[in-house]
Each structure stands twice: as structure tokens, then as C-alpha cells.
């Protein structure tokens, strides 16, 4: 044995832990810089860090490392969906039915507009429908991070959260039905067409209900200890993400349903103030950095024109939907305008879905994937600053130093 066995080998081994630490540090510092000097929301800083270290720009973070770091993404996404579910008040739809109309219109019209553009690009109808459905959702993580960061309250904020949650649900259901139809074109099997979506939807909801009532019972046992409540919920969310995945349910529907039902079942409002504060932010930073790292900016050039057309179509569809019933639902035109902008952000995570679909069904085609990905990249980049602008201009943001 060497005499100096206690000295480390050189260069030291770079581990995941080092990366997590470095990404958090870089993300937070860049976030603050971007916020202080450019008056942009912090999450832009997180995205910038991700883009720079990602495999497609500097390559500091290679594909393999990215895949290994991404384990934490599942928990992060779980927390975001759970929190969004908790924030959304479905009884509001009953008290103001125009909101349900608005939500269906903004999702439906943006779907139709994108479908139209994709058909112009000669995409087969079924594939175009899947792509358009994937394009409908507003990014839950972006909306939540902005609302939290800017401490925003008001009609634009509340409706952004509501429509974001609803559009995620629509997209999820539509995509699972359409994918099943796509499978049907191959196999001609009616059981999978009807069975698969029903399993996904009913199974996820049942799963959510079980978790929600279990959680409430556990929290009651713990009593009024905010810290312990919060830690247990994080643990349970992680287990729920794992469980939903293992049962091949929809993580999105299961976790959002979990949050919503937690709130609904909590009849005496004991846990309504549960919020993910600082720890939530750690997960959000990692979520944004890691998804941005996987953005391939070269695709931006390749599919830019088609991508831009899709982005515009989506915006037009969403604005028409929001404006159509603005007055009836009790929203001023000015706020309707800010709300339309606020619904722009798109989740980078959608790209993962596009790639998955692409791998499963080759007829999705590389050209379409390119157009979709470039649309998502555009929205991932311009969505957050525009939505932040909308929250600020609508007077609903309440940032540090304001009176």
C-alpha cells in the first residue's frame, strides 16, 4: 500500500452531489442577478444556467449525467402538481360557470388553431391532434414559481392558476385517448382504446383519493406541528409519484387530484396554509435548471418558422377564449389581456413527452418533433418574462420593496 494512502486521488471524482450543489448555487445567484439588474423573474436565471451547462451549449453536463441527475425531477414535478392542485378551487366553477366556459374555450380554441397550422404543414390528422393537444397546456411550474416569487394575488393570478390546472387535465385526457386511438390504428383493439384511458383516469383519481385521505389522517395524528406536517407531505408526495409511476397511472392527474382532494377533504381547514416555501424553491430551481439543460437550441433554428406559427396560433386561440366570456365571468378587458399573456408559458417537460411519443410512434415524424420542440423552446424562453410582465402590469404582483 502506498504511504500516502490517505490523500485523495487527483483529479477528484465528480459526483452527482457536486452537481446538485453547483447547480443550486449557480441557479440562485444567477436568479438574484437577473432579478436585481434586469427586473426579470428569478426563474429566467435558473433557465439560463441550465441552458449554459447543458449538453448542447457548453456540454459541461453530458447526457448521461443529466439522466442521472433527473431522478430529482420526478419529486419536483410531483410537488408542483400537488401544490397547484391544492391551490385550485373547483367550487369556483360552480359559483361562476362562465369560468368553465372560458377554460374550455381557451384550451379548445388554442387546440383548434394549432391543429389547423399543423395540418397546413401536412401532418396526418391524428398526429396533428396529439401534437396540438400537447401544445395546449400552460406550464404549471412556471405559473406557480412566478405567482410565488412575485407574491401575486388577484383575478389574473387566480384565473391563471385555475386555467393552468384545467388545461393540464384536458391535455392529459385528450392525449391518452388519442394515443390509444393511434395504437388502435396499429392493433385494431377496442379494449385498449376504451380501457386504457379509463384505467388512467379512474385509476389516477382513486389513487389520489386514497392518498389524500391517508395524508389527512396522518396529519391529524401529528397535530399542530407545521414543520412535521410539511416534511411528511413531501415524503408522501415522493411516494405518490413513485406509486403512480409503478401502477402506470398518470402522475399529472394523480398528483393534482391528490392536492385538490387534500383541500376538499380537509373540512375544518387545518392544513390549508401548508406551503412548500424554501424547500419547494430548492426543487423548483433544480426543475428549471435541469429541464433547460435538456433544451436543444439547434432545433430552434431548424423548426423556427413552423414553431413560431404554432406559438402565434396558440396565443390567438387562448386570447380569443379568454376574451369571449371575460365580461360575463367578471373580468375587465384589461385584465383579460394580461391573463391571455399569463397563459403563454410552456413547460419544458412537454419536450420529454414529445420525445416519448416520437419513440413510441415513428409516424409522429422527426420533422413534426422539430417544429413542436422549437415551439416549446420559444415559449419556454419568452413565456416567463411575458407572464411576469402581465402580473406586474395588472397590479397584482407585490414584490420586495413595494408598499
Amino acid at each position: 500500500m502506498h504511504d500516502l494512502f490517505f490523500l485523495p486521488s487527483w483529479p477528484p471524482v465528480v459526483g452527482d452531489l457536486l452537481w446538485y450543489g453547483a447547480l443550486l448555487l449557480a441557479g440562485e445567484i444567477t436568479g438574484i442577478a437577473v432579478h436585481r439588474w434586469l427586473r426579470l423573474p428569478r426563474l429566467i436565471g435558473w433557465i439560463i444556467v441550465g441552458l449554459i451547462v447543458g449538453p448542447y451549449v457548453t456540454g459541461a453536463l453530458d447526457q448521461e449525467r443529466l439522466a442521472s441527475l433527473s431522478v430529482v425531477l420526478n419529486v419536483a414535478i410531483g410537488i408542483v402538481l400537488f401544490e397547484l392542485g391544492q391551490r385550485v378551487d373547483l367550487s369556483w366553477l360552480r359559483r361562476n360557470p362562465w369560468l368553465l366556459g372560458t377554460s374550455i374555450l381557451e384550451s379548445g380554441l388554442s387546440f383548434a388553431a394549432m391543429f389547423f397550422v399543423l395540418r397546413l404543414l401536412d401532418t396526418p390528422p391524428l398526429v396533428a391532434a396529439i401534437a396540438a393537444a400537447l401544445g395546449v397546456t400552460t406550464a404549471p411550474a412556471v405559473v406557480l414559481a412566478l405567482v410565488r416569487d412575485m407574491r401575486s394575488q388577484g383575478q389574473v393570478t387566480e384565473r391563471m392558476l385555475l386555467f393552468t390546472a384545467l388545461s393540464s387535465i384536458y391535455t392529459f385526457i385528450t392525449v391518452s385517448v388519442l394515443l390509444a386511438s393511434l395504437a388502435h390504428e396499429y392493433r385494431g383493439d377496442w379494449i385498449s382504446i376504451l380501457g386504457h384511458p379509463s384505467y388512467l383516469i379512474l385509476g389516477s383519481l382513486l389513487f389520489a383519493a386514497v392518498f389524500a385521505s391517508m395524508t389527512l389522517r396522518l396529519l391529524h395524528l401529528l397535530g399542530h406541528r407545521q414543520e412535521s406536517q410539511f416534511i411528511c407531505v413531501i415524503g408522501l408526495v415522493a411516494v405518490a409519484v413513485w406509486g403512480a409511476t409503478a401502477l402506470q397511472l398518470s402522475v399529472a392527474l394523480a398528483l393534482m387530484g391528490y392536492g385538490t382532494m387534500m383541500r376538499t377533504f380537509d373540512a375544518q381547514r387545518h392544513f390549508v396554509s401548508l406551503n412548500f416555501g424554501r424547500v419547494g424553491r430548492i426543487f423548483l430551481i433544480l426543475l428549471f435548471v435541469l429541464t433547460a439543460a435538456s433544451l436543444d437550441l439547434r432545433l430552434l433554428g431548424a423548426g423556427a418558422l413552423g414553431g413560431l406559427a404554432l406559438v402565434l396560433a396558440r396565443f390567438v386561440g387562448k386570447s380569443l377564449g379568454v376574451f369571449a366570456l371575460a365580461r360575463q365571468s367578471g373580468l375587465t378587458n384589461q385584465k383579460a389581456w394580461y391573463l391571455s399573456i399569463g397563459l403563454l408559458p410552456k413547460a419544458g417537460v412537454t419536450i420529454v413527452l414529445v420525445h416519448e411519443v416520437n419513440a413510441m410512434y415513428p409516424q409522429f415524424g422527426p420533422a413534426l418533433a422539430t417544429v413542436m420542440v422549437s415551439a416549446i423552446v420559444i415559449l419556454e424562453l419568452i413565456g416567463p418574462p411575458l407572464a411576469a410582465y402581465a402580473l406586474r402590469k395588472s397590479g397584482e404582483a407585490f414584490e420586495e420593496g413595494q408598499t
Binding site: 378551487d89 361562476n96 390549508v272 367578471g330 408598499t403
Partner: protein, 372 residues
């Protein structure tokens, strides 16, 4: 110099202003919603007036001028229904109560108006801590001298009104041990407390002029007194009540003040001297802290008894002067508060059911809607 002309108004007419809480429907913390609510109501017609207050989480409603109970309570209900319908559409809760049980004042945002920005700039954190909610009762007076008589004669009865309306036992997330914690937030202001002991409107005018020339105040609004004249309306205004949890109680309190004022002006039971203020702060504290069980010291009559008992005795004095059924109903409601306990007690009972402050606010919202 006669800027403060006391306009004549119909004697003993009453009007009510209520400052109300706007809360979210998730955890029922205060929420910034006044602008949204007001722009929603802008193109709709409704009776009464709905106005912004100093922070975005607060809204003020006021009635017209009324002579009797029935039209007053009718108007208050109609304003409430307008607000409740709008709030349902916008997913906001509207609640009474003198203070929000667990809001953090650092989260409050000042409503964007020059006067509010001025107040906020001058008083700093006090302006945001002043996120408390009161009922103001206006009583019409034939002239300035009558108004000043009422102001000082009422002083003896202020503790009664505090105990009757008290509903702010929780503040910043804790039980304060007070029945009305709200008034403690008002003490901090330099121009709070009571008006100077002046009985002639000319003297009062002279006083106001000196204060203005000295640069201490610009208008009557700069005084945060418990009772304050409003010369442009021709009214005297009582400002110490917590906003009750229901509009019916707000109307009953206003009627009680009206009956009391009629009796005071008709019988003039006191020769007013400044001695009336000897026990003022002591009595006021007793009322805020202990409510109905607080001790009320009457320096002029040299008596001391629990406030609840004192209210019942006063009701006996007022009974022969009752004008109509509505008034009798309102006075019966006041007696019922003494008998069954005030709303501070109700709030503590509700809280003790499950120990959840958000749930308490939810019940306040329901109570304001008339559902509980």
C-alpha cells in the same frame, strides 16, 4: 376662517359605515382584492356606497341617511347581497370582524390613492398595522352645539358600545386575551383618543383653526378620535365599534346609539364637565379587555358596575322613549347581546371547536352572508 361650518342635518337621523375584510377562499387569509371587486361593481347598479379603504384587503360600505331601523337594515342587507354576489363570482370571501385573526401586516398593500400613500408615508408600519375594521355610526344634529353635547355625553357610554360590538379577540395568529384588540392598533396614532372638552361649536372651530395654523392637521380626517364631528354632513360620528359579523347587528348598534342620543338630548341627564373623562381611559380598557364583564366607573354618579349590567340599566331608561317597533326590535337585540354574549365570545367558542383559525374566518364569512 369659518371653514368648519356645521351643516344642519335632520336631527337623530343615522347612517352607517362598515369596513369589511376581503379574504381568499383557500386559507382565508386577507387577500388583495379591493380593486377587482370595485371594477366588477363599476358597471352595476346597487344601493349604498362601496369604496376602497387604505389597504387592498379592505373595503368600506356606507348607507344613506335613515330615520328608522327597518329601512336602515333593508339597505344594509341589500349592500351585503351585492357584495356577496360579486365576491362569489370573483372567488373572494367578505367578512365582518374588528381584526383579521391571523393576517401578517407586512403582507398588506396600500391602495393606490394619493391620500392613502400620504398616510402610509407619514405613519410607516402603523398604517399597515392599522389593517383593522370598524363600524362608524353617524348621528344627525340640529347644530354644532347639540353635536358637541352628544360627543361628550356619549363618552360615558363608549365602553358599552365597545363591549357590545367587540369581535377582534385574535390578532396576528394569537388570542390577545382582549375582546376587542382592534382599538389597541388605534392608540399608537398621535392624534387618537378623545376630542378636547369644548361645548360650543365656535370654540371648537377656534381650536381646529389653531391646530391647522400650527401645521398639526390639515383636515378633520387627520384626527383619529373615538368620536369625531363631521361638519360637512352635519353629523357626529362614533368610530370605536368593531365591524360586527352581521349587518343586522350593525343596524341594531346604530339604533341603540340613536335611542341613546334622543334620550340624552331630550332629558339632558348630565351637566357636562370635564370630569366625565376622569375614568374614560380606564373604562375603555376594561371594555376592550373584559367586554361585558369589564367594570364601568361612573365618576359623576359615583357608581361602579359590570358593563353588561350598565347596558341593561340604560335600556330600561330608554324604553319609555321608544318610537316604533323597529326601534324596540333593535333594543331587544341589544339586550340579547348582553344576555347571550358578544361576538368575541362566539369567535372564541368557534375556535375552540377545532382550533383552526382559517376555519373560524370561514365561519365569519358564512355568518356575514347570513348562513350561520
Amino acid at each position: 376662517m369659518n371653514d368648519l361650518e356645521f351643516k344642519q342635518s335632520s336631527p337623530l337621523s343615522i347612517g352607517v359605515e362598515l369596513e369589511l375584510q376581503l379574504v381568499n377562499t383557500r386559507d382565508h387569509d386577507l387577500t388583495r382584492a379591493a380593486s377587482d371587486l370595485l371594477s366588477f361593481l363599476r358597471n352595476r347598479s346597487y344601493t349604498g356606497e362601496i369604496k376602497p379603504e387604505i389597504t387592498e384587503s379592505m373595503i368600506e360600505v356606507s348607507t344613506g341617511v335613515h330615520a328608522t331601523y327597518d329601512p336602515l337594515v333593508r339597505e344594509l342587507r341589500s349592500i351585503r347581497d351585492t357584495l356577496v354576489a360579486a365576491a362569489k363570482t370573483l372567488n373572494i370571501g367578505v367578512a365582518g370582524g374588528g381584526a383579521h385573526p391571523f393576517q401578517r401586516w407586512t403582507e398588506r398593500r396600500i391602495f393606490d390613492r394619493p391620500r392613502f400613500r400620504h398616510v402610509s408615508g407619514l405613519y410607516g408600519y402603523l398604517a399597515k398595522q392599522f389593517t383593522v375594521f370598524g363600524q362608524h355610526i353617524h348621528v344627525g344634529c340640529a347644530g354644532g352645539d347639540d353635536a358637541l353635547y352628544l360627543l361628550h355625553a356619549w363618552a360615558r357610554y363608549i365602553p358599552q358600545l365597545i363591549a357590545l360590538s367587540a369581535c377582534s379577540p385574535f390578532y396576528q395568529g394569537v388570542d390577545t386575551a382582549f375582546e376587542s384588540s382592534r382599538l389597541n392598533a388605534v392608540f399608537a396614532f398621535p392624534l387618537s383618543g378623545r376630542a378636547p372638552f369644548l361645548l360650543k361649536w365656535d370654540e371648537f372651530n377656534h381650536y381646529f383653526d389653531r391646530m391647522r395654523k400650527a401645521g398639526i392637521v390639515e383636515s378633520m380626517k387627520d384626527f383619529y378620535w373615538d368620536i369625531r364631528p363631521k361638519p360637512e354632513y352635519g353629523t357626529m360620528e362614533i368610530r370605536i365599534c368593531d365591524t360586527p359579523l352581521t349587518v343586522e347587528r350593525a343596524a341594531a348598534l346604530a339604533l341603540y346609539v340613536q335611542s341613546l342620543s334622543r334620550w340624552l338630548l331630550e332629558t339632558r341627564p348630565y351637566r357636562l364637565t370635564e370630569d366625565i373623562y376622569l375614568a374614560y381611559s380606564f373604562n375603555r380598557f376594561q371594555a376592550c379587555r373584559f367586554g361585558m364583564e369589564g367594570e364601568l366607573v361612573d365618576v359623576l354618579m359615583e357608581t361602579r358596575r359590570p358593563i353588561g349590567e350598565d347596558i341593561l340599566a340604560t335600556l330600561d331608561l330608554l324604553a319609555p322613549h321608544t318610537k316604533d317597533n323597529g326601534e324596540a326590535k333593535a333594543l331587544a337585540a341589544i339586550a340579547a347581546i348582553v344576555r347571550d354574549g358578544n361576538e368575541a365570545r362566539w369567535m372564541r367558542e368557534q375556535y375552540n371547536l377545532n382550533g383552526s383559525l382559517p376555519d373560524l374566518v370561514w365561519r365569519q364569512v358564512r355568518r356575514f352572508r347570513g348562513e350561520e
